[in-house]
Symmetry: C7
């Protein structure tokens, strides 16, 4: 090991220059890394989902206008959120390396430092796995634009309207007003109910003794009437369909009606369909069976 106080000046000056060089290079590298991150993240989040998904999503942009500005803002926010996590990580790596190199240059032993940091680091590292998992999951979720504030999603642990999205957690409000904080890493699959269209499915149980063709025609009339009303047509994507006998259950013959609606309006349409069908069956004296 070299002495702590150098004997001659020549190596000291060389050393000082080397340290200066290291610091300058580190600062330049950090600047480059930050720019790179900004550019990569921006590009990645603007082309989210890639070509195949892009074409499919292309269709649904026609259903609601004026979404472009919202989408652009969302994209900008996403790029910022991801960058705000990646940038400090890059800085820590570059500056930490520079610091260690300088210490090494100065002949200061870095083994004790590494030992201390290592022991604490391993202890924390195991426990922090889940944290890293959450951040990685959140990053990809944002990059792939799986959902955003305002979407109704099924995150497994909870179902509701997204109120906030961070890299670590997703915050939902369910139908009872409960606010759910779900860690992104625990969401293995997510269902988004606010993309493209939704389907209202109404099952109508009629008694075994009912006249099947008559019931079928009656149901067809009900859905046709509803399709012809502008109020409902504006929230439906196509004319509702009577799918026939879905099941011969324990107690009834079950007919199924399917109606494609714009996102998040299916419950409303289903309720209206149920009221109209009940009235029509009553008028035709066809018994509903449990």
């Amino acid at each position: 090991m070299q002495s702590f106080l150098p004997a001659a000046w020549a190596p000291a000056i060389a050393g000082a220059l080397a340290i200066l060089l290291i610091v300058v290079i580190a600062l330049i590298l950090r600047k480059i890394a930050n720019r790179l991150i900004t550019r990569v993240v921006r590009r990645a989040s603007s082309s989210s989902g890639g070509s195949i998904a892009g074409r499919l999503r292309g269709k649904q942009t026609t259903t609601l206008e004026g979404l472009d500005a919202v989408a652009a803002e969302r994209r900008r926010q996403r790029a910022e959120t991801i960058g705000s996590v990646l940038r400090p990580v890059a800085s820590i790596v570059i500056l930490g390396t520079a610091a260690l190199t300088v210490l090494d240059r100065l002949s200061i032993p870095i083994a004790p430092l590494l030992t201390s940091v290592g022991i604490v680091g391993v202890a924390v590292g195991f426990g922090a796995q889940e944290l890293v998992k959450d951040f990685i999951a959140g990053m990809f979720m944002l990059l792939e634009d799986q959902y955003g504030v305002g979407d109704v999603i099924d995150a497994g642990a909870a179902v509701g309207t997204v109120e906030a999205v961070t890299l670590r957690i997703t915050q939902l409000r369910d139908v009872d007003g409960r606010v759910w904080y779900v860690r992104n890493g625990t969401i293995t699959r997510v269902g988004n109910e606010s993309q493209g269209w939704s389907r209202a499915t109404v099952d109508v149980p009629v008694a075994y003794a009912s006249d099947i063709p008559a019931v079928r025609d009656l149901l067809k009339d009900v859905v046709e009437d509803m399709w012809n009303e502008p109020t409902y047509r504006s929230v439906m994507v196509e004319e509702p369909q009577v799918w026939g006998i879905e099941q011969i259950s324990d107690t009834a013959i079950v007919f199924r009606i399917s109606a494609k609606t714009i996102p998040a309006r299916q419950a409303e349409i289903a309720r209206e369909l149920r009221i109209r069908i009940k009235s029509a069956l009553d008028r035709a004296s066809i018994a509903i069976a449990g």
Copy 2:
């Protein structure tokens, strides 16, 4: 390896100076680290949830006044709790490193020490994973202000009113008076029922033979009457809604009524609604069906 007792005085003095320097630097670094932690934690906990969440939460501050002082106190406590864990960790790292460097300077072999500590450390480290997980989960929960003392939460393992929050555990009291101690790391998602509003949902099963429009009007009258009473209006956020036929069940036509209330008052409103609806249906001689 150098001799244990140094032959000449010059290196001894140089060594003593070096050790002194190490100790002084360590103490200064520790002071800086503590200040830094205090500042970072305070800033993080005062801007909890960030911009997107902030705007959404902004709305709900109007429902209950005088919360500002409570929130400030809560924020201060949170910052203190988190700091009380991070500060000793920083101290251990800095002082440990200093101690090892001094030992190394004195030519005392530190390998045996590291070996002993390492063996015990690994043995404990594996088992302590969950502990670290709990602390990390607790820290983020506090930083994001997911819930506080007095909130009614659903922590998965238990549902109840929060009685105490530490970095390791959350203490709840459920409706039967049972006190639950839940480790923060085991809470993968949490539902807070005390933020913004709650919804009371009342299902009314009526017999198949009932007159649907009449039932609908009757239910509308009931909720309107209730909305017009100041006692109930003060705990409701908007006029209750009759959502129509939610389900054609095995034995009945089920109507659903929804009422948005201020947090934690939904059960009360639901019970009042049920009594009023039952009386109204009795008066109108409409049969309830199981």
Copy 3:
């Protein structure tokens, strides 16, 4: 350790040449690796599934014509997707090695760099396991051509039509219009309903007192009539079969009818069968039993 500023020129020139050599070799190796990856991936994805599976799949190519162009396009896209992940990995390994070798050649200490990268790497590595798992699962799924855009699959977490496939996630839309994002690594088994044929199974519960042979003949007549109609024959693979008494249940004798159809048409055939059977039983006055 050598001095940072070399004393004589000879080793400096030798060093510069060595560095040049390293860089040139690295660039050549990278080019070779990229070509190799392209070729291997293309070959692997064109012979997906291998000989045994190939022969079995051979049969089903007769059911739908004109699929060759689609399949070729799909194959090309798969090769591209996989290559786009493998190529950067190879580049990182080769260029990283070259960079480290050059640094080493220049007598710049690389230990501090490795330490910084290592600590961050381990911290991230644990959390990134799942990410790697997703990519590996996605790669094999693509290579084995388990499913493609447009197929109806059961991915465990969700069932629906594939809308997009990336190396990390599979995007489905279920029957209610919900869009599901499922991580490939969480799909331990996948069921594809769009390969070869599907089967419609219809259970007919008749009362205990029914005349068994009569019911059997009646059901046989129904399926024969249907098989003779060109509309339905075109979507069926073979004549539907009456399998006999499948079960003596709590309340009925249950007959089972099985009809092989072309993929994704089974629900339609099953509904038509149910309507026809119900009518036939009504005509023959045979009671259905729950």
Copy 4:
């Protein structure tokens, strides 16, 4: 490597002195560590739960007198139990380090020893994870005073009265007399039924046709009568409340009555309430419905 038999006496004496010094320092350090552990544990267990929890628990100390001596004894035992585990761990680390340093001083190779211990250690270490987890869980449970001997707890795996608590296991006796040994590390959440108060909840199903206001008044009379009897008042915390219609079930209108009692007396109060309500309903000829 130095020769095993030293040639001259001077270094031998120096070595002997060094060894003596090591042993003395180790013994002093051990003494200090033991004292430190005793003090820290005692302080930690006397301020269990900290400020927030303390204030809440403060209320419940009024419900039962004479608990102070019991609590002090419990606290002392807890401190002792925790200390009895931490002290040997500290001793092993300090004495092990000293032993290795001495061996190293004597130029005896310690690598073989470390290898043997290491191989056995790793083999055992993996399997002992759960053991360490149990001890850590037990230590925190004791420090936080989550439950003690005599409390009725729900430990997930078993519900019953605590008969013994060690750092590794909790021993319960359930209502059937079965003795349960539950490892502390497997208790992710624990519910303590013996803190503060318990609630007796009685559901009363009455027929649809019942006169709702009459039933309500009748129930109110029953609970008021009971509250006025000193025998029952002494075990209740506040007057029982009639909460109204909790549910319109399949077969009945369900009223709910809630009574806060002192801990562990809720079952008794609930049974008495049921008998009185049944008699009152019989007297008023109101039909109970399943």
Copy 5:
């Protein structure tokens, strides 16, 4: 570290010879390894299951003739599949070692290379665990000949006919025509329905009031008649047995009949038995009870 350009020729020639030797040895070792793998795999797959299983399986070879050629072909394919995975692994180990030794001989630093490969390797290694698991599971499954193309198996995740078997996945087609891709490593137990024999089990519920001995005799007559018909005898292994009262259920006395058939024909026999029993009971006016 030696100079990159050697000063004298003697060591250079010695080095070149050493490198040549290394390459030659490596190629020879690889050839030997490949041959060894081929031989071991072939021997292992021809004696699949070993002595105990062999004797048991010996019996069932009498049930179906002409299987020898099929089995031999299957065995050859299995050996090939396993060899095609083991051979590249052996090549990578041997050639990689040779390459590293040559680099080392040439005084080229290999640490940077190992570092780069190591970091990527660990990152991928964690995620690839499942992949290795799948391959190992697949290898043993093939060696033990647990199932082959055409067998009907229950793989837990899916039940159906095996369509293809690779080292990584098993491809099944279930009864509804769905094609399942199941990773071999996720199959913890597998049930093969196509080995030796299958059993048809038919439960006959008769009313409490039935004459027990009469029902027993009647059932015995039915199975005897069926056993005497050549069509059914050819698919049955032994005469069906009436096992007596299996259960006194909620609503009926349940008789059980058991019939051993050749593999995969049990459903057919069970259906025929049910039809015959129903007719016989009708003739004897014995009531079936749910």
Copy 6:
């Protein structure tokens, strides 16, 4: 590295003496370790459960006499079983260390040996985790005397009478005569039904219309009669109690009777209670309701 064949005799003799010393010390250490293990284990198993548990268990020793000899024998066997595992482990560590030290002394390279053992060791180590877990669980189970041969326990995986206990597995026989082999490490909690007392709980459902006080008195008479009979009194710990209305179920008012018995006799007492209650209710013409 020293030459393999020593040039002069002096170091050889010194070396031989050193080796002799190492062997002698190792043998002495081993003897000491064995004695220590014997003493520690014996002391630990004689004071099983410690002070708190001891006092509680103290009560139950009065219920059955002559248990002292059995307990002493059990304790001796436990100490022997645990010692038989710990002793070889200690021997392996001590002798292995000695062997490595001797090899090192003889200048024989031990790195290759460690490498071979290490590779096999890691491969086996991962898989052997569960084995070590089983042994550790078994050791603590024995030390804490959780159960012994003859006890009826609920081990989660199986319930039955303990037939044998080893450090790795517990062997039970359930009520159907099935013998269960349960790995100790998989038993996270165990319930012992043979310690102290058991409780027989009998629920008596009576019709809604029953006279509640009359039923109560009748039940009290039944249990008093039974308590007065010496045959039953000898197996009961205290007089059975009538707990009142436990539940107002769908179809009945349910009374609960509780009887504390000596261990494992509760089923017998419960059956006798049911027969006597049924007869008493019949005599009093009170209807039982499902």
Copy 7:
């Protein structure tokens, strides 16, 4: 590092002798290891289960004669199976160590070899964990003789008759003829139905109105008659017992009869009991209730 081509002959000869010595020692060690394994395994498998279990199992050897020869053969096969796995492992360790030592002696660098093997080894090692687990589980299962070919076992994943046992898997055939391959490592507990005795349990539900003592006597008569018949007595271990009222169920008073039989004959005895009881109840006009 020594030169590859030695300058003088003396060290070369010394080296050659050393290598020869290493090889000879390795071969001798291997022989010793193999013998040791054979002896240890044989001893371990002949004293399977140890003293406590031995005494208990002693009783059941009286139930079936001529089992000694079978048991001896089984024991021999077990020893052979275990030895066939342990022997190659020992050989690999000893020969691998020798090979590495020889390479090291020849001054051939072994680091590259270890690196290659290490990288592949770790990659495979993680995936092979389960394989090692299976082998360890299989080894202990064989040593403890938990079950053998022909026993009926409940392995959790499947229940059936054991057809083959290897160190990795257990092969069962269930009652439907399905052949199950279960990995030994996935069997956490196993129930063996073929050891000692089995119990037939028959529940007899009679109507509430039945005369309890009369039913009891009638049941006692039935079991006594059956016990007196030699055909049934030979398969029963003791006289069947009438246990009294097991349950007052929703619809009936349930009596329970218990009969201990020799292993695997309980179903037969239970069916005969049911037929006899039904006839006896019919004769006595006592109604069975669901």
